[in-house]
Symmetry: C2
Subunit: 375 residues, 2 copies
């Protein structure tokens, strides 16, 4: 038997997060069994972990080895949004890494026995996880599970943004929440590939952080000159596509408006429908939980939409996706290095004080779960 | 010399609409000279006619034959949005129809001499207009200039919506401000072609109007049950694309949210990223001048964007566009019939009382300008 973290929301609106004891899975012919030694808490994991629960109502119970956290999901829209998962105990954890301790009969599976691999597929907040070989990535010689724990979500998301930019015909891009782990990674990719990147951050100290990492265009949305700064950077780079992690509030629309203003600096004649250049903002996160709001001051050639890694990978197909994965492996300790402020055990994931830190989703408070660590 | 309506916004923020006396243009080899006898006031024309001026400040001056209307454009964002047209006297009027009174030397131009044609290309609020043959549409035998005055903007926009729906892989569509001239036209196209159309209107009497025209799905956004009604219609029709004339406010987002709810009625398992079905709303107008606002309760597979007729026609190419135009000609008096509440002269366009009516952009107050009519 082995531990697996579970999140359950009952029909009555009660969230319960706990550790379940489950059988160690047996790998199928083309699967490997991984002893997980590192799994990051990504913003996308928090959504599944706590759902729409109001975590200010969180209470601890259980024992030190088997802690339980309960909290209330507000009635109404919040609870309704959870309809499809009610009364289903759900495993959590998008990605992780560890050592292959058992392998199916296929040559591809057997080749991984004893190796350290990264994997994607959910249910990684567990001591053991069996996954198809296709959902793993063999880490390069010398890379540990900690090095490889975040090999999928952030690296492929950052590479996917650059790939989307290229495929949709843009020459430079904008990223918000740019001081995040993902943002720093995207900055390293763009520096390496010679792509102009406009980094939008929310605090002056984040400007310094990115500057220290060699970023050229950094706009602080808390500065009174933000819109002018952004328009200037957009005019200089020609960026007409943005990836916005905040989702809510006015930022997405402001980016479109500044893009239009930057384009119009060199416009030759008046068009009442705005510039003919298509401007695109993808909302790939929801750090800002407010409604999204914009004034339509950017003409008619614009788009806003959701962007998500897996549909993107499906769209480009397995061969193109494999190219991206191999780049991650070969630059794992440089371009795609992740940093964690703390490594915690499965039991510590359920500690109220610890939750209060990692659930902030704040830059610099990224936690790594190590299910092999005793609590 | 002939009369041409002009709109001018000065750097100081003063709008002046007047009638200019301009030389009758001479058609080029592949052009025809049209004596305009009908040109509609479309919402898209009002944007150019009055710009960002505050029409509550409008004042009349000039003579009965040469009236002048002046108004103030508020300083700040409103005036800045007009930058590219400041101090340029602009002709107005997207489309119109009339008799070809002079033709260039090309056989195509000569073939139109004496015929009644519709035309697109701006500057139609004028007694005479020379346009390339490619921008005209020969009206069928027996059709008058009044019948053909609105042959381009509304008919091609409505056909373009259906064509966009097909090309983007949707099977039914949603339209807002559905009781408008354009909306009635779209309803006739969909009934003829057997396409399910969800009509969103703003008043109970518009429900009756569309019902009387055979529309099957009509949702009144002023009804307390609007969101349920809309979700029901979306579930029944499977519509996953919408064309929204209002642009501002919450309607666009509500449509996406109801689409997601309709899809989830039959969802088999919970996905924290929402349904995988792409949901699209195109904002093609701005009847609601408030900011656009939405809560992101529709997963990640969604898009919102601008939609405009001419970029669409460019995208599909001249051959596909010609097919649409020929359909307009052959169904001009049935599917594509337009109705006007009043026919006015060029001078009457500048009458303050008249402006107060047609500038409401309200359903049932569509005016037709007849520049051949004495004032």
């Amino acid at each position: 038997m082995a531990l697996q973290l579970r999140s359950l929301i009952s029909k009555s609106g009660q969230l319960e997060v706990s550790l379940a004891s489950v059988p160690v899975p047996a790998p199928g012919p083309d699967e490997v069994l991984i002893r997980i030694e590192g799994s990051p808490i990504n913003p996308s994991d928090l959504g599944l972990l706590f759902g729409a629960a109001d975590m200010t109502t969180a209470k601890a119970s259980g024992t030190p080895e088997r802690p339980v956290v309960t909290a209330t999901v507000p009635e109404g829209a919040a609870l309704r949004a959870m309809t499809a998962r009610l009364d289903e105990s759900m495993p959590v954890g998008n990605e992780g890494a560890g050592v292959v301790v058992e392998a199916g009969s296929s040559p591809a599976a057997q080749a991984l026995l004893g190796k350290t691999v990264a994997a994607i597929g959910g249910a990684m907040y567990a001591q053991y996880r069996a996954v198809p070989v296709a959902q793993t990535l063999l880490l390069p010689e010398g890379a540990t599970a900690v090095d490889g724990a975040s090999s999928f979500v952030n690296p492929l998301t950052a590479l996917g943004m650059v790939e989307t930019m290229r495929r949709e015909g843009h020459k430079a891009l904008v990223h918000t929440a740019a001081a995040s782990n993902l943002g720093q990674m995207l900055n390293r990719i763009c520096m390496k590939d010679g792509i102009a990147l406009v980094n939008i951050v929310r605090k002056p100290e984040q400007v310094d952080l990115l500057k220290g990492m060699g970023a050229k265009y950094i706009c602080d949305s808390s500065a009174p000159t933000f819109l002018q700064d952004l328009t200037g950077a957009l005019a200089e780079t020609g960026a007409t596509i943005a990836f916005d992690a905040t989702g809510g509030g006015k930022l997405g629309g402001q980016i479109l408006g500044c893009m239009e203003a930057a384009i119009n600096r060199t416009a030759k004649e008046y068009s009442r429908y705005g510039s003919a250049t298509h401007k695109q903002v993808y909302l790939y996160g929801g750090l800002d939980m407010r409604p999204t709001e914009f004034v339509r001051n950017f003409g008619m050639a614009w788009g806003m939409g959701g962007w998500l890694l897996f549909p993107f990978l499906n769209k480009i197909g397995p061969a193109a996706a494999e190219v991206l994965k191999q780049r991650v492996a070969s630059e794992l300790k440089t371009t795609f290095a992740s940093h964690y402020s703390k490594e915690i055990s499965l039991a510590e994931v359920l500690d109220l004080g610890t939750i209060a830190v990692y659930n902030q989703r704040a830059t610099g408070t990224k936690y790594l779960i190590n299910p092999a660590k005793g609590s």
